[in-house]
């Protein structure tokens, strides 16, 4: 474990990779290697403290003259808006929802990790760091992850001070539980609604700043273009979704906290409105998109019930702490009432294959094994397409051991939700679960300061690629969103803003006019194609392609096929789209059309990235790269790098920039949960 790999943290422990395979040949251009220009050095435990000191301060009197735009009001966006507002900066906050409180962080259920070691079970900042790097399959940056683990404890303090009602024990102190893939109890939670409680805390802190006049909120607004002037991000073009007005907002810095792009799969656990548009518009303006193929498929979602399905619902994987996962040993038992299947005819496959981690193996393993047993014909529940897509998550042992009230107290909202959706009572009949797209580790490339390669453009939370490598541990998304928003960004953006306020940009400036006109003409184009198909029908088709070929298992022929299909879909989209209504009113079809157009382009890049990465790591499983046991096989010799993609133009090819991942504090190991 960690102890044996402790190191002075100064000399590299791994060599720079040399890629020999070239599966994506013909689909991309190889660009220059890149490095994080502000990567810290020195012993890992000192890096963040040192950097906070080195970064310049902004005179309090100057702060109100500095304008910061923040797009998105989830944990990363709302926390940043609140903190920067408290600091005295002039913040403009944008969200597409009718209130900042509705951002999709609200739906996170299970909890938030922090290295408090309240249980005295051997946890520490180093262990959280180590677990996160290992869980991410050694595809994240050491320094960033260490910082994340380090500030995790501050997050809990901050949230409690704001009135976040975490679960407590009988002495009134905070309670913890263990969570997917780790052996210490470091997860703080508020029943199954932790995301909601944390977001309400951040939202209230932000609203306090709205009242104080430091934050102005723009709800029902969607960012549709980034303004880049003299190489710097200087503002955005946003559409007022109610009036349709195209607005210009200028600033000294722009922060994208716009969330992840899991909806590229159409069916996912993301909110219906979650989209990639803000990030993709920035990408097309020059911001690199890093590791776009790194997608997390969550093992414990409610299975698809039919073609009408519009989204999938996750149930917290905290359920795996008490539920046991199984399928019948024999395919012929799959139609039976599960309660009639005796113990000896059940295959508790995770406990069987991974005796030490059992049902708590990381998400990607749990997901892939569920798919494997269903592919073998041992799935349960209704037939969807040509096979049953579901496995049992059974609480009967836990109910026997702990009693129904104890289970109810932990999970009642999840059980209620399950019953509402499926019509089945999980206290009596085992739940059925199946994997679904849940989170993306990929996102816009950022440096240690969370700044993209466009100066003045910062990216936080799920929208950036930074901390989770190829796979995110449970209860770490909330941690990262709040770490970025409350503690990291406010301490890094000041280094940039110390040179501001920057020369004012006029609304008539060429760069601004161009961005505004681009938005206007795009909106007009959607409305004038006048074909036959709805934006939703294209989205659904894209989702099928992505799930089939760029989902849980990816192969070279599959990805090549997907790229061809997506290119054809793109042609059809721009020729056969039909959007009704007008540009100068609330028009949900028009909003959707813009998002689908961007998802289509992103989908192609994801496939190219997945094709290039001929290794399996974390959530990315390439059929061509597995061990004899069918486990993911990494190739550190070729792929220990971040793939940062540069937009190559509408007619051109994406340009791949590699950032080598260098480990100095811990050694890379092939992951094993056996």
């Amino acid at each position: 474990m960690a102890g044996s790999t402790l190191h002075d943290g100064l000399t590299p422990l791994n060599a720079a990779p040399t890629q020999t395979s070239d599966d994506a040949h013909g689909y991309y251009t190889l660009g220059e290697k890149i490095v994080d220009p502000v990567a810290p050095t020195g012993p890992i435990a000192q890096r963040w403290t040192t950097r906070k000191f080195e970064n310049r301060l902004v005179n309090p009197a100057n702060r109100r003259k500095l304008n910061i735009i923040i797009v998105g009001t989830g944990l990363a966006g709302a926390a940043a808006a609140a903190t920067l507002g408290e600091g005295g900066y002039n913040v403009k906050s944008f969200c597409y929802q009718d209130s900042p409180r509705r951002a999709h962080s609200i739906a996170a259920q299970g909890g938030i990790n922090a290295a408090k070691n309240y249980k005295e079970d051997g946890d520490s900042v180093f262990r959280l760091f180590y677990d996160t790097v290992k869980g991410g399959d050694y595809r994240s940056r050491e320094s960033n992850v260490y910082r994340l683990a380090e500030v995790s404890t501050n997050i809990i303090d901050q949230c409690v001070a704001q009135g976040v009602p975490f679960a407590r024990d009988y002495g009134g102190l905070l309670d913890n539980r263990s969570f997917g893939g780790v052996q210490v109890s470091r997860t703080f939670y508020a029943r199954g609604q932790t995301g909601q409680q944390l977001l309400i805390g951040a939202y209230q802190a932000m609203e306090r700043q709205v009242a104080a006049g430091t934050v102005t909120q723009y709800t029902r607004h969607e960012m549709l273009e980034l303004i880049v002037k003299d190489g710097k991000a200087r503002g955005i073009i946003a559409r007022d979704l109610v009036t349709g007005e195209i607005e210009t907002h200028l600033a000294d810095a722009v922060v994208l906290a716009s969330g992840g792009y899991g909806n590229v799969f159409y069916l996912s656990t993301n909110a219906m409105g979650s989209n990639v548009t803000a990030a993709w518009r920035a990408h097309r303006k020059g911001a690199y998109m890093a590791n776009p193929c790194f997608t997390q498929i969550h093992p414990t979602c409610i299975p698809v019930s039919g073609e009408h399905q519009s989204k999938l619902t996750l149930m917290s994987e905290s359920l795996r702490n008490d539920g046991r996962i199984w399928v019948p040993k024999r395919a012929e038992d799959c139609e039976k009432d599960p309660r009639d299947i005796p113990e000896e005819d059940r295959d508790y496959y995770l406990e069987r294959i991974y005796p030490s981690f059992g049902n708590l193996v990381p998400r990607d393993i749990a997901s892939r094994q569920a798919k494997n047993v269903c592919d073998e014909g041992r799935g349960v529940g209704p037939m969807v397409g040509d096979f049953r897509r579901g496995v049992y998550l059974d609480f009967s042992d836990a109910i026997k051991r702990l009693g129904e009230p104890a289970i109810r107290e932990k999970y009642d909202n999840l059980f209620d939700m399950y019953q509402r959706i499926t019509g089945e009572n999980p206290y009596e009949v085992p739940m059925r679960i199946y994997p679904a797209v849940h989170y993306v580790m990929g996102g816009l490339w950022v440096d240690y300061h969370l700044q993209s390669n466009i100066p003045g453009l910062f990216v936080t939370g799920e929208a950036n690629f930074s901390d989770h490598g190829a796979n995110r541990l449970g209860a770490s998304a909330l941690m990262q969103g709040l770490a970025d928003g409350y503690f990291v960004l406010p301490n890094t953006i000041r280094e940039y803003l110390a040179d501001g306020p920057f020369a004012p940009v006029s609304e008539d400036d060429g760069a601004v006019v161009e961005a505004r006109e681009a938005v206007r003409s795009r909106v007009e184009r959607f409305l004038s194609i006048n074909g036959t198909r709805s934006p939703d029908s294209f989205h659904k088709e894209l989702g099928h392609i992505m799930w089939e070929y760029c989902g849980m298992e990816r192969t070279e022929p599959g990805l090549r096929k997907a790229i061809d299909m997506i290119r054809e879909l793109k042609r059809e989209f721009w020729n056969d789209l039909k959007v009704l209504g007008t540009a100068d009113s609330l028009n949900q079809s028009l909003e959707k059309a813009g998002r689908v157009a961007d998802f289509i382009e992103l989908g192609e890049l994801m496939c190219v990235d997945a094709l290039n990465r001929r290794e399996s790591c974390g959530g990315h499983f390439r059929g061509e790269s597995q061990t004899e046991d069918g486990e993911a096989l990494r190739h550190d010799d070729e792929f220990a790098y971040v793939a940062a993609w540069e937009w190559g133009g509408d007619e051109g090819q994406p340009v791949l920039h590699k950032e080598d991942l260098v480990y100095t504090a811990i050694e890379m190991k092939q992951r094993s949960y056996k």
């Binding site: 903190t83 809990i156 901050q158 679960a167 102190l173 905070l174 109610v242 009408h308 619902t313």
Partner: protein, 251 residues
């Protein structure tokens, strides 16, 4: 899977805030009982799109009952016949041949934006008036330095599950937001961290509530019956109690 239900929908259509609205009637068929209510509306909208009629606008986002976006009056009940959000209502609650009336939230403080979409920004302004604990980032003490009695923390959590959907207002004959307000007052008032601002908070928030045009509470209880998160009516008693204490103290 294709379902077997055929339904008649009567839906409020209103092109924009200033326009005159009215009920329109539509037919949908092939509805399955496993569909959510909003998936049924998706099918209607695809159908309208094919017929060249603009789809019905309605607010929705997470579709798992937690973001609070969805806001439909269904057959005169906020979020329809079950105690849940519109998005978590499933078609198994209806039967073949039913006529379903769908309207936006009905409240002066929530003006219609378009069709079934209303403007609930009044709720944000109520929170701005005091629905927070003032704790600047970085100023927090060690989390376990202040224990919070478990019972109180649990009550705080239970009422903090309010999703701000506005069903309470839509259901109330007076258009009062007392349940929403009481939930926030109780959430923050039950925690040790919420004590320093407790009485200023309530006075400011009640003043903002009234200024937004929400009505007064006359203890009818429709709000708690309609609340998809089961926020109990006693938060309004707490609200009144705290307000009385604050006023007595001359705040």
């Amino acid at each position: 899977m294709i379902g077997t239900m055929n339904l008649t929908l009567k839906i409020w259509r209103q092109p924009h805030a200033e326009a005159q609205g009215g009920m329109r009637e539509y037919q949908v068929s092939g509805i399955s009982e496993d569909m959510s209510f909003l998936e049924m509306l998706d099918i209607l909208n695809e159908q309208l799109q094919e017929q060249g009629e603009e789809p019905v606008a309605f607010d929705h986002d997470c579709r798992e009952g937690i973001c609070g976006s969805c806001s439909l009056m269904i057959n005169g009940q906020a979020h329809g016949p079950e105690v849940t959000t519109s998005c978590q209502l499933h078609m198994r609650s209806f039967k073949d041949g039913d006529t379903i009336t769908i309207e936006p939230w009905r409240s002066e403080a929530f003006p219609v934006v378009k069709d079934l979409v209303v403007n609930r920004s009044a709720f944000d302004r109520i929170i701005q008036s005091g629905g927070y604990i003032s704790a600047n980032t970085g100023s927090a003490p060690e989390a376990n330095s202040v224990p919070a009695p478990r019972e109180k923390a649990m009550r705080a959590f239970n009422v903090a599950t309010c999703i701000g959907c506005g069903a309470c207002v839509a259901a109330c004959p007076n258009g009062s937001a007392s349940l929403f307000l009481g939930a926030k007052i109780t959430h923050l008032g039950e925690l040790p961290q919420g004590q320093p601002e407790r009485y200023e908070r309530i006075v400011d928030m009640v003043a903002q509530h009234d200024a937004e045009g929400f009505g007064g509470c006359t203890n009818i209880g429709e709000c708690a019956a309609a609340c998809p998160k089961g926020i109990p009516l006693d938060v309004i008693s707490q609200l009144n109690k705290d307000l009385r204490t604050a006023i007595k103290a001359g705040r």
